[in-house]
């Protein structure tokens, strides 16, 4: 089934937040923010702004009726800076005016006085000063200390990994309107409607039942609207409550880039030990996560870095430690992969270092150490239904890795200043929120008396196609035509206490709840059919009722009408919680993931060694989808994710200066892939497996895992660079921008 939103998307008819036609009297809000990364906030003078025609009010911390606090995991993040400024771009207040333009002009008139304090942008420096967001975490398996002695080869190194701007094309925004009795309706471009609701209640000092959050769809999220959509929604709710008028805020791109957090940059140290036959016997790593100025989701991201520190490899002795370091950057946040990609990058760097030092192809080391059923992850979960070797072998054979390597070798021999590089990238990614309590969802299904069906769940549609998958589930369970089912907006009045749509788990969790709701409705309708329509074995296909294979004269509409007349409940609200999973955070052991997703990719790049530029010729992927319930959507997720991953490893460079100011603050300076910079070819093969019971209809989660194929981009380029400038030691410093490539190509020449 093609994405059910596609028709409206291509016609410009889909409604995003800023497309809601304004209610009469709507005012517009704009945040004003800190022009410095760390300081005491001495004085804010808004008088000039307030005197401008069209400016209605300026709100700051003192106007907050409840708590000035939006931190989710840890209460360490004020909505508006009060006494101290902790990052450049930290909101200090909002201007509310009759137009966005007046807001922007008024912002230039606001005077902020402050006394500067020392700025930290480097996580290692924060660590050295013991500025940590939360206590350090570590996972252990076996005993690394005694294992080093058994290793034939031991290598150590340092790795730098930069962050990544989400660059959802729709910027952050929210729109609030008062209802009666002090309750508020907020349209929010958020992945987490409940988080928005809860935080508004806290800041505005009203109960959650007075806050209705409604989300139709997002113009991209990628994790950037999981936690960080909340602040803007709270701001407009606050203004609406004060002014009793509708208030809208949609961030300008440069404001969005300056004020919001990104994928976490990490600095890390590794030590890897191998046997003479290239088995990894021991692995030790220390991660310094650049959390930014407040916790946001950093502790959870930090944990997932540890979960995925050994990627798709079995290592018997592991000791990995991670520090969430508090710096003066905007609070970094969720981004597709959620810390996992950074964890994986470090062990891939360690393998690369071993490979270069020993003259053994990295692929040989990678292959030698892939996970098997029965192996233990460092967090105690036992590997089962493992597809790591299967995916690798299928990739190696199906795409003929040997001949690719040979072709590249020959090419490099014959060309002096154009070089090719190839890398293989296996992946293994755990599916579930690692915070076990978040793994639940609900679905509400109404069958109306005309036979039409409406579905609400906690899942937010942001392009990943979850609404299409939900519709497929309802259609399959009820047998109605796709046109008879409507997937409604995500609304906190219809579905309460939701987890954000994140962790690739939206379709699994909400889909399972929807299956349960449909099943209950089906059972009631079956009974009606048996007792009143004389159909003993009900089946519905395209709205026609069948008894076994026998077509009847009855339609879905007849059945619903009958049930309605008989006062049968045609609504169902179902709750699903992932079974089996558990995790003891103290011990760092348990079974946190419902299942894992596996795959392998071969990436080929050509580097222009005269100019330091490069282009990816081909990315070939074998991916474990289980039994895909929608290949159009799943392939789209794979292609999009791998390009986003390559972007992160190559072009996308976030630069903060020493004062903590974002230098890459616009699309003119922060470059994501365009239509010309993507690989010339992306080939995707699906691994044929039975799928997993805990995956929705055995169709495995697909949002995040394929992003990590992009890691191979770094190593493919590195291999090409080494072919031009052999025998040099290069830093592991992602992304591999054309600048770093050129510098490495001519290092020591």
């Amino acid at each position: 089934m093609i994405n059910i939103d596609a028709h409206n998307h291509v016609s410009g008819k889909s409604i995003y937040l800023d497309d809601i036609i304004e209610w009469k009297g709507t005012l517009f809000a704009l945040p004003f923010d800190a022009p410095v990364a760390h300081a005491r906030l001495d004085h804010v003078d808004v008088s000039k702004a307030l005197s401008m025609s069209g400016v209605v009010v300026v709100l700051t911390a003192k106007d907050i009726p409840g708590k000035n606090q939006i931190g989710g995991i840890i209460a360490d993040e004020p909505l508006f800076a009060e006494e101290d400024i902790h990052f450049w771009g930290q909101p200090i207040g909002i201007i509310v005016a009759t137009s966005e333009r007046i807001c922007r002009l008024a912002r230039e008139q606001i005077e902020i006085k402050f006394s500067e304090l020392p700025v930290i942008t480097d996580p290692r420096e924060a660590h050295a000063q013991n500025k940590l967001i939360c206590p350090p975490r570590n996972f252990q398996l076996g005993d690394v200390t005694s294992a080093w002695g058994q290793c034939q080869h031991v290598f150590e190194g340092k790795v730098e990994i930069n962050g990544q701007e989400h660059l959802y094309i729709e910027t952050q925004g929210a729109y609030a309107r008062m209802k009666e009795d002090g309750s508020i309706l907020i349209a929010s471009s958020t992945q987490g409607p409940t988080a928005v609701q809860r935080t508004i209640a806290k800041v505005l000092d009203i109960p959650m039942h007075k806050v209705e959050v409604d989300t139709v769809r997002l113009g991209g999220g990628f994790g950037g609207k999981e936690d960080q959509a909340t602040g803007w929604a709270v701001m407009v709710a606050l203004a609406a409550q004060k002014l009793r008028k509708p208030v809208k805020m949609v961030l300008h791109r440069m404001d969005d880039m300056r004020m919001t957090g990104k994928r976490h940059p990490y600095s890390a140290d590794f030590k890897i030990g191998l046997s003479s036959d290239m088995k990894i016997l021991a692995y030790e790593a220390t991660f310094f996560q650049n959390a930014g100025a407040a916790a946001d989701l950093s502790p959870a991201v930090l944990e997932r870095t540890l979960f995925h520190a050994t990627n798709a490899y079995f290592v018997p002795n592991v000791h990995v430690t991670a520090y969430s370091c508090k710096t003066n950057l905007p609070p970094n946040t969720a981004f597709r992969g959620f810390g996992g990609p950074q964890g994986k990058f470090v062990i891939e760097a360690a393998i690369s270092k071993a490979s270069e030092s020993l003259g053994v192809p990295a692929a040989d080391i990678q292959k030698q150490n892939l996970l098997n059923d029965g192996d233990e992850f460092s967090y105690g979960q036992i590997v089962d239904q493992c597809e790591a070797q299967n995916a690798w072998n299928s990739c190696e054979e199906g795409f003929d890795l040997k001949s690719i390597q040979e072709r590249v070798r020959l090419f490099n021999e014959q060309n002096s200043h154009i070089k090719k590089g190839v890398a293989v990238q296996p992946i293994c990614f755990g599916i579930s929120f690692t915070n076990t309590m978040m793994n639940h969802a609900r679905a509400l299904v109404h069958i109306y008396q005309d036979g039409s069906v409406v579905v609400s769940t906690g899942a937010v549609e942001m392009g990943q196609g979850v609404n299409t998958k939900l519709l497929q589930i309802a259609v399959r369970k009820l047998g109605v035509q796709p046109g008879s089912v409507r997937i409604e907006s995500t609304n906190t009045l219809r579905i309460a206490n939701t987890s954000p749509t994140a962790a690739s788990a939206g379709a699994d969790l909400n889909g399972k709840a929807l299956e349960m709701a449909c099943k209950s409705l089906w059972e009631r309708l079956e009974q009606v059919a048996a007792e009143h329509l004389n159909i003993s074995n009900l089946r519905v296909q395209n709205d026609i009722l069948y008894d076994n294979q026998q077509k009847t004269d009855h339609t879905w509409h007849d059945l619903v009408q009958k049930a309605f007349q008989l006062r049968v409940n045609l609504s169902e609200h179902a709750h699903y919680a992932t079974p089996l999973i558990h995790f003891d955070k103290e011990k760092g052991k348990g079974h946190p993931f419902a299942y894992h997703v596996y795959g392998a990719a071969i990436l080929e790049v050509t580097v222009d060694c005269l100019r330091g530029t490069y282009h990816f010729d081909k990315v070939q992927i074998v991916h474990d989808l289980g039994v895909s319930m929608n290949v159009h959507i799943d392939n789209g997720q794979i292609e999009g994710a791998v390009v986003q991953g390559i972007g992160w490893m190559t072009l996308e460079e976030i630069i903060y200066n020493k004062e903590g100011r974002l230098m890459t603050n616009a699309l003119s300076t922060y470059k994501i892939p365009d239509i010309y910079s993507v690989p010339s070819e992306i080939n995707i093969k699906h691994l044929e497996t039975e799928g997993h019971e805990l995956a929705i209809q055995k169709s495995k989660a697909v949002g995040e895992p394929p992003l990590m194929y992009g890691l191979g981009a770094y190593f493919a380029i590195r291999n090409a660079v080494s072919a031009f400038n052999p025998g040099k030691e290069f830093a592991f410093d992602a992304p591999y921008t054309p600048e770093k490539v050129l510098m490495d190509l001519y290092k020591g020449r």
Binding site: D19, R611, A666, T669, D674, Y746
Partner: protein
Amino acid sequence: MIEFILNNETVRTDLSPGMTLLDYVRYEANLRGTKIGCREGDCGACTVLLGSIRDQKLKYISATSCLTPLANVHGMHVVTIEGLNTEGGLNKVQKAFVDCSGTQCGFCTPGFVTSLCGYALNCENANAMDAVGSMDGNICRCTGYKSIERAAAVVADQLQEKDHNLPLKWLAGEEFIPAWFEDIPERLGQFSAELPVSGEKAIGGGTDLFVHHQDVLQEAPLKFLFGKKDLTGIEFSDTECIIHASSTAADLIDNARLQSVFPGWHSYMKLVSSTPIRNIGTVAGNLVNASPIGDLTILLLGLNARIVLLDNEDLTRTLPLKEFYLDYKKLDKMESEIISRIIFDLPDMDSHFHFEKVCKRKYLDIASVNTAIQIRMSEGRIIKEIHCSMGGVGPIPLYLKNTVSFMTGKVLSSELIRESVDILQSEIKPISDARGSADYKRLLASQLFFSHFIELFPEEIKGEELL
């Protein structure tokens, strides 16, 4: 009063001529299909089509509405995504996007569809590569573009049959566009000629000034020069090329004479910004913007161009472009002067021209370093005349006067190039910024200087001898 056709409606408005077309379309006309992604022309979510009669034919260009002041669409046909929806439902381009799963979150989609519809309207020899190229100004964060490439290939294939004598009729019949497009050429005739030029601050396509100064410009007294007949067009004499100031980068890339005079012309010009920006960005705008990395500036400096400045009294003066730039964003130009023409000598048979540009992303990016070179050779491999420019290596677009004067009259050899690069290094002063560190730009400057010779004289100059 500004008049234009918006989709199928004629619009006459007294709103500020400096209001962006994007704001007009979304918030005055309430057509919300056109999206806001960046307001700086770098994402294409706000792409619209602008139709006007050129050479007796209705031509459409794609444009970023976020940087286009209302005044610039006076007398034109403005088409948004809503104006591309056909009565039967989806048009062919939209259908291809749906069938190929070329849309995920959908926010960028109207921009992509609009760009590709523009291609369908304009193309003469449809092919997948050019169809993809029409979307080079559109950014998508979800799909990874492969599905969009597939949609473009489908569309290009369907366009093979296009009737170029009656394109609108054919396109409407094949459901690429609504039928009412066929009346547009006639309807455009109703509009009064150009808006009278008044105001103080000269503005061309808006592609630079509207990035940062939109809020102020909306109410400022602007002197709109975009599309003015006496300021557009590219002419040739026997020895010179004369570019009228308001000609766009697209006029340059499409010019058949320039394409034949400079073999690499099309590929050089493709490196300049993106299709929708080239469609509206003017040559003079690029020059007066005085960015030290302006691509057209560097290109014209390499051609040793001259500019003709015109003041309020209609007096003109001519000066070499290399003398125009005094310091960072400081020009040898009075406030009242505008550039009216840019002139350069056409190369002879012994001349060679080349342009190089490196940035993070090959297309739709601003250079870390860009450079152009023109060399006239005489017998015995002697360099008779040479001009070389370089951007991103100082406060102004740099004409490498010491380097070229050192090379003039000498025999071209790898040794000479290596000696010259030392002089080049002594006359550049790059700084570290978002486009690269100073060290990188120095290295890149040498590499691109080498590239000129490796590309222009592959027989004589070998990469191995330089690197």
